[in-house]
Amino acid sequence: MSALSQIRKINKRMPTLLPGIILLLILVIPPTLGRPFLDLELTQISSSRINIPPGAEYPLGTQSEGRDMLTILILGTGATLKIGLIAGAIGLAVGAILGMISGYFGGFIDKTISAIVDSFITIPPLAILILIAAATKTMSIEGMGIIVALTAWMQPTRIIRSQMLSMKERNYIRLAKLSDMGSIKIIFTEILPNLIPFLAAAFVNGVSTAILSSIGLEVLGLGSQQTLSLGMTIYYANYYSAMWRGIWWWWLPPVIVIVLIFIALFLISLSLDEIGNPKFNRL
């Protein structure tokens, strides 16, 4: 009962958090918990008859290479989210470390790190990603995650740095410094726990940026060839002119899932922003 009232309280303060998380869970469960129930054979080329519209036998039909759309869609959702998760985690780790160092120590280190972040934010990341992806021969989902992580660390660094700057001026941190606690210990035991909401916001931001970049690369055909992600599914649908041929069940489902992923992440980040900027509550 108390857990329920707790949830109700959070929901009142951040009304978009719960819908976002539920939406995301609906998308995450099939490729993770549902995986044992999937027939992986059906993702193979010519495992089924081609171009069958959605019906009893194939709930979402099959595409022109003879793959079952429902299985592809579920696995693709998992692959796309995995890319986002890997890149988001790398981005968060790099961003948190750089941001904390930059904000805590200040001075020359801060200036250097900030300059690097600023220049990376302005250089269009997709341009560099295209060069790297075009130069590498084969690409896996994990490799994709690592490459797009290049675009996902700047925003976390900025968020954490600015929080660090305000945090270190607080009285309890001054007290900890006066009582001769080491810098590392202060950062980890006194500051880090207070940064958790901002780390969460930075993580969601990183995941969303990474998925955006990965889809940018994939629609150019630079995605993983081994596992079909949502972006690659759309690339092949485009490649085989699915839209002109009226095979809407090939390109529309991945488009809808991508839109749902971005809306879910948007709802979550909107609620996390609310913690950071309570000013919006008035609107």
Binding site: I123, I130, A135, G216, V219, L220
Partner: protein
Amino acid sequence: MSIKYLSKRILVFIVTIILAVTINFFIPRLTPQNPVAALVGKMVSKGITVVDSDAIVQKYTEQFGMNDPLPVQYFKYLKNVILHGDLGYSISYFPGKVTDVIIRAIPYTVIIMIIANVIAFVVGNLLGALCVWKKSPKLVKGVVYFMMPFSTIPYYILALILLYLFAILLPIFPIGGVSTAGSAGGFSFKAIWDTVSHAVLPILSVVLSLIGFWALSMRGIMATVLGEDYLMYAQARGLKPGRIFFSYAVRNSLLPQITAFGIDIGKIISGSILVEIVFNYPGVGMVLYNALRTADYFVIQGVVMFIVVSVALTMLIVDLILPKLDPTIKYE
């Protein structure tokens, strides 16, 4: 604006370009083979017939001194690109030049981009500002909340949805290209409408997404500005609401938005060239797509250079305009 500031900004611009050329040079050379021979081999393995492949390899080896030590190659490359604007030959259009292939595509991309960005910036900021303005109708708020989710969806995905809705399900707009095949051209009303109608959907895919983006951040800035004392003072002086809104509130809120435009232009440009692929619009994005399909690496590099140069140029312009708009900024 002092000469010193001007020259410093131009220096940053030049450094960015050199940086981009450097990245362009080194990434393909991380592999040990002769990059040109490797690329031609890769294209042949993709089943693309390369005419005169030996001639291409030889021409490149000569022009870029592939047999020279790496630093010598690098400076030759730098000189070729920056002084002569020469990015080499396209492999699939050999002996066509990379720059010719790209320059042919640039007008389409630039026109679409300018129109889309101007519409989105004006409408988005106006909606965002009206959203927190007390006297504005409820409808504005509704529109802004409706547009917000669009700001998170990639332009490419929006383009696919728009194409399906307004060119296939309801065939209002053409499905792609710049003009109907065999249209007369010239300046008749029909020809102009033909060109415009082909550009509507590509522009709309970028505009829909950007309006939400600008409205969202404008809403936040405007909320802060509305709490400032000078706004209350303006009200106390009995100024007309319209004047308070535009000359006091919006004008001051716009400055951070223009800075944000400079920061985000990279994302906007690289996102919107992907839209061209959906609509088969013959701009730089389409060139990139075709070059990737045929592994025409030098054209890919050229497109990357185009993206970097146009972003750097936009940022230079923003930085030069900003001090004119904001008298509190004094650049040394």
